[in-house]
């Protein structure tokens, strides 16, 4: 059954979209990630214009983050204060990101920047996660866990504007979460992702937040950042396709349920290792596409 997408201006099979939503939803439920970093490249791959893929995916992530955060909220895993500071940074960053997106698009470099951002960030995060999960699997076998220092003082603690974050048990400069939010906001706008896959490691390793509140807080701020991206992309570029977003969402909601159930049966390290492999595969594919000689060196830019 074909459906014509009003903003993407193309005809796509409904079941393909539901299936894609379902598959990515399954993975996001399994690994506890948003899935935007898989969905946006996939949408571009089936022929959705990159600008529409990014704008629409932001819209879809609003929905999936809301359903995710409500569950964490009930368990008290959201640090509101931290989330708010991250969100303020995220608002500023994503606004700048949408402006950058528009400029790069008119220069004809947006596709390259999207691909390069994916290659760089997926490459770094995937490699780190893989090393980490391999190490922890090995450590578990050795059963000689070395205890990490609970708190280390670095230059980060010398920054001004210190703030107390009760739930995260932190007393750090507000500039840190603001900066993290800002940078992830830019990436969210350009890459069409929530940014959880960058935000979560940054919160753990850079800010030193306890793992229990990381996901809930990250989801909380992702709602606002992706809502901001949705609004600005819709307003400035008219690249948000609600029909496409709704179809992907329907599949994703169902897929996420099965994913979460499957995830409960696997071990944390194994899950992280699997996710790392998948992230690296997407990265390798995008990198390969940049290197391989294109079918035609002339491409259609803007049809006015």
């Amino acid at each position: 059954m074909q459906i014509y997408l009003p903003i993407a201006e193309m005809s796509v099979n409904v079941f393909l979209l539901l299936g894609m939503g379902g598959a990515i939803g399954f993975l996001s439920g399994l690994f506890g990630v948003g899935g935007g970093f898989l969905m946006t490249p996939l949408l571009i791959f089936i022929g959705v214009p990159p600008a529409v893929a990014v704008g629409t995916e932001a819209n879809q992530i609003v929905a999936s983050s809301v359903s995710g955060v409500l569950a964490h909220w009930r368990r008290g895993n959201v640090d509101l204060k931290m989330g708010t500071v991250l969100m303020v940074g995220g608002f500023a960053g994503s606004t700048l990101g949408v402006v950058l997106f528009k400029v790069l698009r008119s220069l004809g470099q947006i596709d390259l920047v999207i691909s390069l951002s994916y290659v760089i960030f997926l490459g770094i995060i995937g490699a780190l996660m893989l090393v980490e999960s391999l190490r922890s699997i090995r450590r578990r076998k050795a059963a000689a866990a070395q205890r990490r220092k609970l708190h280390q003082h670095t230059w980060i603690h010398g920054l001004p504007l210190k703030m107390r974050f009760r739930r995260s048990k932190l007393y750090i400069s507000a500039l840190m979460p603001f900066g993290v939010g800002f940078l992830v906001g830019i990436l969210a706008a350009i890459m069409g992702v929530g940014g959880g896959f960058i935000m979560v490691p940054a919160m753990i390793y850079l800010l030193g937040m306890p793992t229990s509140v990381v996901i809930g807080t990250s989801l909380f701020q992702i709602i606002f950042v992706t809502a901001n991206v949705t609004f600005l992309q819709a307003y400035a570029n008219q690249t948000v396709d609600v029909v496409l977003a709704l179809l992907l969402l329907t599949g994703a909601v169902i897929g996420a349920q099965f994913g979460a159930r499957a995830g409960a049966r696997l071990q944390g390290e194994q899950l992280r290792g699997l996710l790392a492999v998948m992230v690296l595969l997407v990265c390798a594919k995008l990198f390969f596409d940049l290197l391989v000689t294109p079918e035609d060196i002339y491409t259609l830019g803007v049809v006015h």
Partner: protein
């Protein structure tokens, strides 16, 4: 169902044409009558491309060429080059006008129908399209490369014909051809032009308008997104919030 209606209209149209030609046959030397099965292509929710039937009759011998052309638009093309081993867009060029859609059908291969000068004058065939870059922007050789790049891209998108479709004749006078408009067909005011040629010269031509437009929910959503983009953005967010909340409720039950 739709096919049957088209067939019925087709038959009716032919009957009318026949009677017209039957009555005026002698007086209408070198004349041409044609019509389209539909004047409006409606892009609805289920739109997956459509065929438009063009049919007609000619008086006397000759070749028939049919061109369906979408509205002209400026088109920006980009060229990739290797930068540090990576393929990136390194140049761009804007054509002032290029048809957004171009399909051609002919009763014989175009080269046999008319000399290149005539094909060029009437822009018959993809090779004869007038796609010009300002001489200041590109030398003729470079312009030729960009031009064929544009044509290849439009052909890959299914928006320009790769080769002319054959026009079938029923008897000596009646002809028909089905032209395909793909799912990604641009909207706007199209022209379907039927040419009658003999000995390499155009004897007569008939132009018919054809409108391609979004209708129903598709048109409404698109218009709303363009005209009230701020509200559209807010509604998109509201829908997403609602959907997320509903998903949460469903989750909790499970």
């Amino acid at each position: 169902m739709a096919g049957r209606i088209i067939c019925a209209r087709h038959a009716l149209g032919l009957a009318v044409l026949l009677s017209v030609i039957g009555v005026h046959g002698g007086a209408w030397a070198d004349s041409l009558v044609a019509d389209l099965s539909q004047r409006l292509v409606a892009i609805t929710t289920g739109f997956a491309g459509t065929n438009v039937l063009l049919f007609g009759a000619v008086d006397g011998q000759g070749d028939v060429v049919v061109v369906v052309r979408g509205p002209d638009r400026p088109v920006t093309m980009r060229r990739k080059g290797r930068v540090l081993g990576i393929w990136a867009n390194t140049a761009q060029m804007t054509f002032e006008r290029a048809p957004s859609f171009y399909a051609v059908a002919s009763s014989r291969p175009l080269q046999e129908v008319a000399p290149p000068s005539v094909l060029a004058r009437h822009e018959l065939g993809v090779g004869a399209l007038r796609l010009e870059l300002a001489p200041a922007k590109a030398s003729p050789n470079v312009a030729k490369e960009w031009r064929s790049g544009l044509i290849r891209n439009f052909q890959r998108a299914g928006l320009y014909s790769r080769e002319e479709r054959p026009i079938t004749f029923l008897g000596n006078r009646l002809f028909r051809v089905e032209l395909h408009l793909p799912a990604n067909v641009p909207t706007g005011a199209y022209q379907a032009v039927t040419y009658l040629l003999r000995d390499g010269e155009v004897l007569s031509a008939q132009t018919m308008p054809l409108f391609v437009s979004k209708v129903g929910a598709e048109a409404y959503i698109y218009d709303f997104a363009v005209r009230h983009s701020a509200y559209y953005g807010l509604i998109a967010i509201a829908i997403a919030l609602m959907a997320g909340w509903l998903a949460h409720l469903a989750f909790r039950k499970a």
